[in-house]
Amino acid sequence: MSAMLLGLPLVSFVTFLPLAGAIFLVFLRGGSVRAVRTTALAVSVLTFVLSLVLLFAYDGASGLPELVERSSWLGGGIDYHVGVDGISLFLVLLAAFLTPLALLSSWRAVDDRVKEFSFFMLLLETGVIGVFVSMNLFLFYVFWEAMLIPMYFLIGIWGGRRRIYATTKFVLFTMFGSLLMLAAIFVLQAAYFRGAGSYSLTIADLAAVPVSPALQTWLFLAFGLAFAIKIPLFPLHTWLPDAHVEAPTAGSVLLAAILLKMGAYGFLRLGLPLFPAAAASFAPALSILAVIGVIYGGLMALVQKDMKSLVAYSSVSHMGLIMLAVFSLNFEATEGAIYQMLNHGLSTGALFLCVGILYERTHTRLIADYGGAAARMPVFAGLFLVAMLSSAGLPGLNGFVGELLCFFGVFAANKTLAVLSISTVVLSAAYLLWLYRRVMHGPLKDPADLRLRDLDGRELACLVPLVVLMLFMGLFPGTFLRKMDSSVARYIESLRSGAPVVTALDRPGGPGVEAAALAEPER
């Protein structure tokens, strides 16, 4: 398979096809809204098909990046250098999978400036996929920043009442972090030059020659801040509820499902491998922040009156668990974190779609305005339930596998934090099921209100693929984990060899980490 594709720059195709589609849209006559929508959808579906080819072309036995393309670009260590490995592959797929669904979901919800909307959606897709496939730090930063522009417009033009406040806050928060990261990139570049005698911003090169521990601390703080804002880690999360509540449904879906993952991915790809010593010494503090996020997000979700902000706070909580797993620095936790990133993308994406479907019918997101919707919308009720249970981690669905792996790894690293973080299971079951009971069950709020009709074909096409994938990922996790195994093992090994020995003993769960490291990945 891969031999057949050897000549084709597959990764570049997947990355830039949406961009090409977006440029094509500009020159399409704006009058025909239907043609614009169909073109955008077709481009994103084609991108997804190509990304599936990527999945089959990726072998994953060595754990090294595959399908690598590299050509010189600006000189001075800045190359066009892309590829995928077990950590990034599925995130690319997630982005390619969700964009068509998000476009489909806004078929009717967005009827103003459809051309611009589709343009920015496709631009966003190129941006996020680019972040995941970049193997050069400069390229990574370019995509990381460029992706802000389409999201800024998506929230600012098609958002809710306080959209301008929300989108400005989103951009300024993110920019603050990423500009400090830019300064750190300069320092890193100069430090690498002093060490190696030549310029390179290739991520693998930079990881191979770690900078001095004192410098690592500063650089890790700068990179970490950018990623922590994006995730968002407590207490940097305040932009998230605003952005989510004000964003249009499609924007919320992509924001929650993909953009938040970029922060966690940043830690996995850059924060930890480039600065292993600093990462190990900051891991306990960051783990505690992550646990606070888990509990705080869960408690905040319990008291929300707006469905969208409830899902937004549930994201804070779930991302907290993912970060806790990332900072546990062992194999199970890391693989669990990646799997849970995919799960969170699917389940939160589905939940935002469900909220969007309800909102399109009644134009309110307040939980108190609903009741007994299941009677009018039985099919929707079923799909909503599956999405919810996936988010709550019910066995048999994808969320369970991810959470279990995370808990295994976290437990090996630190028992106290593990016990505290398990509260997420209770909390998420509580706020989600309570939400479900209030919205879907009970007597109909207003029996005369006939707006609550069941799903039509388009909405089914949005939700059914997500639900099917949730079941599949819950029942056959090995299909996915197998492709990640060697990359994650390689990643853990690189962290261990790069970090000084003392740090593992300093940490609260020191011996546990060692035990987990000895346990070979099985499956």
Binding site: L74, G75, E145, A146, L148, F153, V171, F176, L179, A183
Partner: protein, 484 residues
């Protein structure tokens, strides 16, 4: 060598300058003797003169005329040639922008062209000399022409006020320069700024007088570049001047002043004791300029005034390249700055009509719906000014700030980066108004202006090409400055 015919290097070195002066005189003569005062003939002459100047610059580059001419008074080196290139491009852009604008705002196009060519010639002289008197000559030619240019909209009080202010403040700056030069000459016995300011010279009998002279010369140059705290005149002048002239004022004097500054300071950078004194001062000025420009821009209600303050902030970023002593990033930033700043002002000009200009933020409300292409162009220019990838503005900042960090100025780079964050807020404010507010009323718009649209298109091309695929330009610049 068949083409170009062998021209003596000394003639070739002067040719770009001579072409401009000849063009300027011809344009002024045509203006005086032509019957039709609203014709565009002077503009054609001026563009031809600028193109000729550009041609000679390129030939000079290819032939390799590097060296000192006219008894060492005129230096032709790669820095001078590159800055000359930027100046000539700026001149062409300004003339193309003013073709229709001049007629609609009752400005005399012939005078504008003549004065503009003289000003560019003055800037060119500044950029290609290290001799104090020659630099002063260039400075005065540039300044006197600039004063007149700012006041060309004679019916407009703001324009006259701008000219008066600029003249008054500029005269002081010129006096500072001469006085400083006298002190430097008195202590070192040399009119050449590089040798006059060298540590050996300042160790003479009157080191204090030499230092004061150096300070005064720096002050005058800071004034020209509009570096804080000598920038107070700039917003009023930039806002009051006719918009194409504003483009000129925000690019040409800055480029010329920075070239002089860079040329004079570079030898001192290599010297430990001198650098220990003036590098902190220069860094402080850079930080002050970035923050003063950006913080003031945040509060503006007029887009023209906001862009004026933004141009002050960009002088601060450019100063970072001087502190880093890095010529390639300085030149690249200047080139990119010309495209993005000129492009943004060009869109502003497109928002004008006979006798009026829409510069208030409210006039831009709903522009994204009414004129999608214009709004999209302005958005690209603003995003580039804000430093978003994949536009050229990002790459320019990347190289400048990266050079500063490589030279060990990490704190300066972090300050610059934080200043850029403030800038994002006000650039985005314009985009918010264009796309996310509804139009209050249909603001008039200048559709029939092909020259202006050519400028906007070339600006877009420059901003995107230099951002995504700048390979050739970067290679040229890298090749040019390996000596630095």
């Amino acid at each position: 060598m068949g083409f170009p015919p062998p021209i003596p290097p000394s003639v070739l070195a002067l040719a770009p300058l001579l072409a401009l002066v000849a063009g300027a005189l011809l344009a002024l003569l045509l203006e005086a003797f032509l019957k039709r005062k609203d014709g565009e003939l002077p503009a054609f002459v001026a563009v031809l003169a600028l193109l000729a100047s550009a041609f000679f610059t390129v030939v000079s580059w290819n032939v390799g005329t590097s060296g000192a001419y006219l008894h060492g008074r005129l230096l032709v080196d790669n820095l001078a040639l590159w800055v000359t290139g930027v100046l000539v491009l700026a001149g062409i852009a300004v003339i193309l922008m003013s073709l229709k604008y001049a007629a609609r705002q009752d400005m005399n196009l012939g005078q504008l062209c003549g004065l503009l060519l003289m000003a560019v010639a003055g800037a060119m002289i500044m950029a290609s000399s290290s001799d104090g008197l020659v630099v002063f000559l260039g400075l005065e030619v540039l300044s006197v022409a600039s004063y007149a240019l700012s006041g060309l909209k004679r019916q407009d009080r703001a324009s006259s006020e701008a000219a008066a202010k600029y003249f008054l403040m500029g005269s002081f700056a010129g006096a500072f320069f001469v006085f400083g030069l006298a002190l430097v000459f008195g202590t070192s016995g040399s009119l050449d700024l590089i040798s006059g300011l060298s540590p050996a010279a300042s160790a003479s009998a009157f080191p204090a007088a030499g230092a004061v002279g150096f300070g005064l010369i720096l002050t005058a140059l800071f004034f020209k570049i509009a570096v804080a705290p000598f920038h107070m005149w700039a917003p009023d002048v930039y806002e009051g001047a006719p918009t194409p002239v504003t483009v000129f004022l925000t690019v040409v004097p800055k480029a010329a002043g920075l070239a002089v500054l860079f040329r004079v300071l570079l030898p001192l950078l290599r010297d430990g004791t001198a650098a220990a004194v003036f590098l902190p001062a220069l860094s402080a000025a850079a930080v002050l300029t970035m923050f003063a420009g950006n913080l003031a821009a945040l509060r503006q209600k007029s887009v023209k005034r906001m862009l004026s303050y933004s141009s002050i902030a960009h002088a601060g970023y450019l100063l970072v390249a001087v502190v880093a002593g890095n010529a390639p990033s300085l030149v690249f930033y200047l080139l990119v700055y010309l495209f993005m700043n000129g492009g943004a002002f060009a869109v502003l000009i497109a928002m004008s009509g006979r006798g009026f200009e829409h510069t208030s933020l409210d006039d831009f409300a709903g522009l994204g719906r009414r004129h999608p292409w214009l709004a999209a162009s302005l958005s690209v220019f603003l995003l580039s000014l804000a430093g978003f990838p994949p536009t050229a503005g990002f790459l320019a900042k990347f190289y400048v700030f990266g050079a500063a960090v490589r030279e060990g100025h990490v704190v300066l780079a972090v300050a610059a980066v934080l200043a850029s964050l403030i800038a994002v807020a006000y650039y985005l404010k314009v985009i918010v108004v264009m796309y996310m507010h509804d139009a209050a009323a249909e603001a008039a718009f200048d559709r029939d202006n092909p020259a202006l649209f050519l400028v906007i298109f070339l600006g877009l091309l420059g901003v995107l090409q230099l951002g995504v695929w700048p390979g050739n330009v970067l290679n040229l610049i890298r090749g040019a400055f390996s000596a630095f």
